[in-house]
């Protein structure tokens, strides 16, 4: 049995134009200690999927489907039970380390909060544990920094603090939503290395969300490519990177600038823009930006099909070569 099993997850969000589907029928599994990368452009539903797993969707959101942790459906639990899972069995780190920490509390206190909440640690015990965590995430001079305020730290240091906080209760799953996007490139590498190292050491599962296929390719065993609120391609990272089948994934892959490769023309892009949630086409959501789209793509939503070992895609034309 998978540690985390998301099946047919649908999330509708309240917008000024009524309820709009942000996630439509997302399905994936995460094995114990497994790593999954979720990739896609802004607005494709990847963050909403993560927030749905955490149970932290904005007010008025409607969720259907199943999110099972060790076989128990999280969506069936009450708020109190979900609070016991958050930060304890499933922890999350966010994109913006600058704003994700409370500016008026010392970081030691903020890291100690889940320790007190889930493990009942207080006083000197909690402080010792916080020091150990800060050391573990590689924050220099933890004994001094434990009493610092967030504004006294750099972005990379704050993200380390966020990671320490997420790690505090030894979660089974770490959700990392664009953890490096707001950081300098050199710091990005350090933070990704740290996350990889912690995943290896602790055996926790990782769901890494990114718009950057390059980051995903280096970090996770499996990849789910999302577009328009659905998973359009899913499988083992090495298989997918060897042969992306969905035209959207191919477009994303082609858009990665190759360092050292001769620049023979402008950067490759995918034509068009991400559709607004409320305007999503009802059949294949990528049809209006796809070079291969034919009449069937406008009429019928493609189903996820197995196209090889460890690779599934949702495209009517996946067998055809790229246009």
């Amino acid at each position: 049995m998978a540690l985390l099993s998301v099946s047919d997850l649908t999330v509708e969000l309240q917008t000024s134009r009524g309820m709009a589907p942000a996630v439509r029928g997302v399905t994936f599994d995460l094995e114990k200690g497994g790593t999954l990368g979720v990739v896609g452009e802004s607005g494709c539903g990847k963050s909403v999927t993560a927030l749905a797993i955490m149970g932290l969707l904005p007010d008025g959101a409607r969720t259907t489907g199943r999110i099972e942790l060790d076989g128990a459906d999280l969506l069936a639990l009450d708020e109190e039970a979900r609070c016991r899972i958050r930060g304890n069995r499933i922890a999350m780190i966010f994109q913006e380390p600058m704003t994700s920490l409370n500016p008026v509390h010392r970081i030691g206190r903020q890291i100690a909060e889940p320790l007190r909440l889930h493990r009942g640690l207080r006083g000197a015990n909690a402080r010792d544990e916080v020091l150990r965590l800060l050391e573990r995430v590689g924050l220099p001079d933890p004994a001094r920094r434990i009493d610092a305020y967030p504004h006294q730290m750099s972005g990379g240091q704050r993200q380390r603090v966020m990671i320490a906080m997420a790690l505090s209760c030894a979660p089974d799953i770490l959700l990392a939503d664009e953890p490096t996007t707001a950081l300098d490139v050199t710091i990005q590498g350090q933070i990704l290395d740290l996350i990889n190292e912690l995943v290896d050491d602790t055996g926790m599962g990782l769901i890494l969300i990114s718009h950057d296929l390059g980051v995903i390719g280096e970090t996770t065993e499996n990849v789910a490519v999302m577009y328009g609120g659905t998973v359009v391609e899913h499988g083992a990272t090495d298989r997918l990177f060897a042969n992306f089948a969905h035209p959207y994934s191919q477009g994303l892959f082609a858009a990665i600038p190759q360092v050292g490769a001769a620049r023979t023309g402008p950067l490759r892009t995918i034509p068009g823009t991400v559709p607004e949630l409320a305007d999503l086409p009802s059949a294949c959501s990528f049809a209006d930006r796809c070079a291969r789209a034919t009449e069937i793509c406008w009429r019928q939503a493609p189903r996820m099909e197995r196209i090889g070992p460890d690779q599934r895609t949702a495209c009517h034309h996946h067998g055809e070569t790229a246009a």
Binding site: L56, E79, G87, F94, N102, E113, M162
Partner: protein, 315 residues
């Protein structure tokens, strides 16, 4: 810290000096001669001149200004033209009414506004929120003297629970004093509560949307725990700001309220003093009000730094 205090004290002196000049000049150009007001317009010139000499009004304005300020440094505010007693003594007596009235109103307003504002924010766009906002709209719209009269009709005339006005003095027992200040305190706190409720509500709503509140929830904190531990302290800064500003509103409000409830406070004192051209009282009371406002806002600045570590006390 001591550098900070010294700097702030200097600022205080400069502000108060400026205020004293403005107050003095305003009273100079204010029509109405104190001597004539005391004696009546038909008084013979010789009598008027004698009074002017007695009050020191024959001296040039600059000399009188310097004499006033020099007196202040020695703790002297001069003699009231009308009551013939030291102004310090008058103010001291009257503050026994006005200070409890002002502090009580601020306290009632702050407690009510924080509770209502938090309640409205946590029930955002629900009936409780609309109810609180409706109440606050009313509180802003109702003139306080009229609200005071309504309270008198209900609690004094109809129910006989509380006195309609007047103040027996603290010697008559604490409870009697408190009772006679209850209606004035509620009246004065009405518009303060309305303003602070709105500020609290919008501050809580704004902070609740911050990323760090989502982080707090992601740690497993309940909505309520996240509100108490992470939202409120951050939401206090705008509430403190408006609280500091409202102190001036409270002080001017005492003028109206003490008249409605016939309370022998500083507000009533200054009202009567203006009517009687008792300029010695007027200028000292106004300067005292100015000093209170400046000191309170200085305390607000210190509170800022205590609430939010990003606001460093500038040295």
């Amino acid at each position: 810290m001591s550098v900070f205090l010294a700097r702030r004290f200097l600022t205080f002196l400069i502000t108060i000096s400026g205020a004293s000049v403005i107050i003095f000049l305003l009273l100079e150009v204010l029509p109405g001669d104190p001597a004539l007001t005391m004696l009546g317009v038909d008084a013979p010139d010789s009598a008027v001149a004698a009074i002017r000499l007695e009050l020191g009004l024959d001296r040039p304005a600059a000399v009188r200004y310097v004499a006033w300020i020099a007196g202040l440094f020695q703790g002297e505010m001069g003699l009231s033209y009308v009551y013939k007693v030291p102004v310090t003594e008058l103010i001291g007596q009257r503050l026994q009414v006005t200070l409890p009235l002002a502090i009580g109103s601020m306290a009632v307003a702050t407690l009510t506004a924080l509770s209502l504002g938090i309640f409205a924010a946590t029930n955002h766009n629900r009936i409780g929120d609309y109810g609180v906002m409706g109440f606050s709209q009313l509180g802003l719209a109702i003139p306080d003297f009229w609200f005071g009269i309504l309270l008198i009709i209900l609690f004094a005339v109809i129910l006989h629970w509380l006195p309609s006005g007047g103040f027996p003095g603290w010697d008559e027992g604490l409870w009697r004093g408190v009772k006679s200040l209850m209606l004035p305190v509620f009246t004065l706190s009405l518009s303060l509560t309305a303003v602070m409720t709105r500020v609290t509500r919008s501050a809580v709503l704004e902070v609740a949307r911050e990323d760090f509140v989502r982080t707090a929830r992601a740690k497993g904190l309940s909505r309520r725990a996240a509100l108490w531990r992470h939202v409120l302290r951050n939401a206090l800064v705008p509430v403190l700001t408006i609280g500091g500003v409202l102190v001036a509103t409270v002080l001017t409000g005492t003028l109206v309220i003490e008249n409605v409830f016939a309370l022998p406070g500083v507000g009533k004192l200054i009202f009567d003093a203006i009517s009687n051209r008792d300029l010695m009282v007027v200028k000292n009371v106004v300067l005292l009000f100015a000093a209170i406002v400046v000191v309170v806002n200085f305390m607000v600045d210190i509170l800022y730094a205590m609430v939010d570590p990003r606001i460093r006390i500038q040295t």
